[in-house]
């Protein structure tokens, strides 16, 4: 049986929040700030890296660990926010990709 990995993460985050009584801080405004400030930390890692060196930079084990941690932090903020406002994250992403495909036609 194939587990739903995303649902498992959402349930872990709900338990984490409940056990710390942090729900009071997790209104949508504060969670949007969480997402944006974690995105700022992700950005910080790449500030002085040149575009043509960014892939190699991301492959070095030490950088990779930092990148993974910052990607995870943004994702956690996003999962908390999606859960708080009650949206099905994969569904809205699927729908946005479809709209982008119309907006930006494929190269011939």
């Amino acid at each position: 049986v194939h587990e739903d990995r995303l649902q498992d993460l959402i349930e872990r985050l709900r338990r984490f929040t409940r056990e710390r009584r942090w729900s009071q801080f997790h209104d949508p405004k504060n969670l949007a700030m969480l997402v944006a400030s974690e995105a700022g930390e992700l950005l910080q890692l790449f500030r002085w890296v040149r575009n043509d060196e960014a892939d190699a930079f991301a492959r070095s084990p030490e950088n990779r660990r930092e990148i993974e941690a910052e990607i995870a932090d943004v994702a956690i903020g996003l999962l908390l926010l999606a859960d708080r406002v009650g949206v099905d994250l994969p569904e809205i992403v699927r729908s946005k990709i479809a709209r982008n495909a119309e907006k930006y036609p494929a190269a011939p």
Copy 2:
């Protein structure tokens, strides 16, 4: 049979990128910028909303559509970045939640 919804999204994004020949622009530095600038747009929606009105704000249908679109844009940037650097997003999120649980002990 339960489909893997996240893997499905990743494959849709790969096809989308390939058909537009955008892979050349999607180095990790630029994708980190994509994530952060989309997070800035998400943030913008909540700038003047008070904390104690943020949940009600997010329930209004018009606001909700905008919030969904911005959450989706951040998620798309994050999925593109995770795929580019080759990380398993649910796995790094699961691991980060576990580390956070140690770092911030639960309330008694």
Copy 3:
């Protein structure tokens, strides 16, 4: 007589805010969000620009107008925030440059 251009801007912003009765929205949290979301718009202009083309990009008149507008928006947010919390912006910048100079010794 040499005018203080920064003080003039602060006074213009105070009048602007007062005439719109926006002071109620301009607590430091919301102004930090203003700064960060405007910084996200500035970032957005450079997402797909390569490092080695960024200077030329910024010299094109149309791009330049957009860059100026976004720089100005971030600056306005920062001036509003500095004024709200009562800090002397040039003084804290001068002091931070001095600390950075100690932290990062000059190349020999």
Copy 4:
């Protein structure tokens, strides 16, 4: 004689950058990333602060020191960027305030 404090800061930043040979890293794209990631750090300070407590929060000496440092970092990024692309920061701010005043008429 009244000194131009902003021009003094710009000259200090030019010297700082020159002595470290950092000009090569300071293209407009990277400086936009600097501004946005420092704005993310500023944002981080206010993530869990309620709107109606944000002014009091900012008055506490310890918080104030952190807020000053982050405001200064954003301002430094902005001054470096404005200087790199050759814009007169007070002039574009003054012009943007004037346009905002037309866009958002004052309350009667």
